[in-house]
């Protein structure tokens, strides 16, 4: 079982770094996109709200494999040409963004309306109300769900392996073809994922502890 990592250290390392890279890039992209769509969803402009709701409903009810399938195999046929890594980022972030949007929206919904009314009656402008009253409170409520969504995203990123992206799960096929026992190959890959997800979950717990306030 140990020879699997001894012999394939470089390959596993590449895969591990690939998954990390995918995590960071998709994490940032889906946070940005999710925030943008959440902004649409809570805006006072009906068409933007409809768009936000439609996006969330559509992507939350679409299997991620189908999105990967449509992006990685369908985009080239429409002459949208990107690298496999970029395809993976597009597929994973559009999917995760729908969930992030909902986490942000329900975070905003936890802020009592009196908070904003008090801020406005003190003469605060929209920007001040938003940045000093609403978002600090909404952010605290949204951090735990967003954190678990990002952890789920890491697990979901394994699907990218089937669409030619260099990442951890993808290394398994090379190693199994080279004659290593699939059991140990997959055990080591699972450990690799556990390292990332458990680290993230520990970081998240620390962050939550730091942000926790008594309401």
């Amino acid at each position: 079982m140990l020879e699997v990592i001894q012999d394939n250290w470089d390959l596993l390392q590449d895969g591990f770094v690939g998954t990390l890279k995918l995590t960071v890039v998709c994490g940032i992209a889906s946070l940005l996109l999710g925030t943008l769509i959440a902004a649409c969803r809570v805006s006072p402009v009906p068409p933007l709200r409809w768009f936000g709701a439609a996006y969330v409903n559509l992507f939350r009810n679409t299997p991620l494999t189908l999105i990967f399938f449509a992006v990685a195999l369908g985009f080239p046929k429409l002459r949208f040409n990107f690298s496999f890594f970029q395809f993976a980022v597009i597929a994973l972030s559009t999917y995760t963004a729908a969930f992030i949007c909902e986490a942000i929206r329900s975070g905003i919904n936890t802020v009592p309306i009196g908070q904003a009314e008090a801020a406005r009656s003190l003469g605060m402008s929209f920007t001040q109300t938003l940045s000093q009253i609403v978002l600090p409170q909404a952010g605290r409520a949204a951090v735990p769900p967003i954190g678990s969504l990002l952890i789920a995203m890491v697990r979901n990123s394994a699907i990218a392996s089937a669409f030619n992206t260099t990442e951890l799960m993808g290394t398994s096929s090379t190693m199994i073809e080279n004659g290593y026992k699939s059991l140990w190959v997959l055990v080591w890959i699972a450990i690799g994922y556990l390292i990332i997800t458990l680290t993230m979950s520990a970081l998240l717990a620390a962050l939550e502890k730091k942000l926790a306030v008594v309401r």
């Binding site: 939350r60 009810n61 679409t62 195999l73 002459r79």
Partner: protein
């Protein structure tokens, strides 16, 4: 919402209404422009040619998609039922009075929730064959993998529903001389089920979505059917049309189930028998490996 104040916005006055209208028009135009661009690209690459859509009138192709749908639904039905059963057992284990049972179920739940489902499915798919233990149809690794993963999530849903029942209920039942099994089956589960049912169904939607992972282990489900039809030379490789068709089937199925969960939640909330008990948010220090619905 635009007519009333929210935490973000006050009721808009005439100036704000005008501004919102302008933003609305500009936003709609931008989205429409993007849509037109995509449709033009579809047109340019010949996705609307009748030759690419004709094959879907053949009964053979329709039958092929239908067979894929049947395979998807079969795996889904098995996995959904098994995962709820496993979830009930794991929840009972986590609520057990015996420390060993509690510890074992908690470890099981934590471990399988932290691992990517795909890795689990590949283990079940590849390992028994390569170790020479047994051979099985690719449907079973998919069903067993989905059962284990979703079972751990369902266990948490069921446990949360049971824990949400006020403590006085079980205390009263014990005081009446009920046994533990009686308290669980006659007092806690009937009350908790109203709280847990919507989340259980939402997780069933996730199970349905995840059956598409069967595509990666060559289980002949909907996506596999789509790939095969989409690469067929004689049909002018209708990959985009078939993806649109299969995608619509998937999204429609998931949306119907999601809508059912929402409807049920609303119905239970406004039921004459009173509201279901609200689930307490988990403690912040708890290991957060869930991501509801992902």
């Amino acid at each position: 919402m635009s007519r009333e104040a929210s935490v973000l916005f006050d009721v808009p006055g005439p100036k704000a209404r005008r501004r919102n209208l302008i933003i609305g028009v500009v936003g709609t135009l931008a989205l429409a422009a993007f849509l037109v661009f995509v449709i033009m690209r579809f047109e340019d690459t010949g996705q609307f040619e009748s030759a690419k859509w004709d094959p879907f009138q053949y009964t053979g192709v329709q039958q092929f998609i239908f067979d894929g749908l049947k395979a998807t639904l079969k795996a889904f039905a098995l996995a959904a039922v098994f995962s709820i059963v496993l979830g009930a057992f794991l929840a009972a284990g986590r609520l057990s009075d015996h420390k060993i049972v509690r510890w074992a179920s908690t470890t099981f739940v934590t471990f399988f929730r932290a691992m990517p489902l795909l890795v689990l499915i590949f283990m079940l798919y590849l390992v028994p064959g390569s170790q020479g233990w047994w051979k099985w149809d690719p449907m079973w690794p998919l069903v067993v993998g989905l059962t284990i993963y979703n079972g751990t999530v369902q266990a948490e849903n069921i446990r949360a529903g049971i824990l949400a029942v006020p403590k006085g209920q079980s205390e009263a039942a014990y005081a009446l001389g009920m046994r533990k099994t009686q308290v669980m089956t006659m007092i806690l589960v009937p009350q908790g089920i109203r709280t847990m049912l919507p989340t259980i169904i939402s997780q069933v939607v996730v199970t349905l979505k995840d059956t598409s992972l069967g595509f990666l282990i060559t289980y002949p489900e909907l996506l596999a059917a789509a790939k095969l039809i989409g690469g067929y030379q004689d049909y002018h490789m209708p990959f985009i049309p078939v993806t649109i068709i299969v995608g619509t089937i998937y999204v429609a199925m998931c949306m119907i189930l999601s809508a059912f969960a929402t409807w049920l939640e609303r119905r239970l909330r406004t039921s004459r028998k009173g509201k279901p008990i609200a689930v307490q948010p988990p403690r912040p220090a708890a290991l957060s490996l869930d991501g509801a619905g992902v």
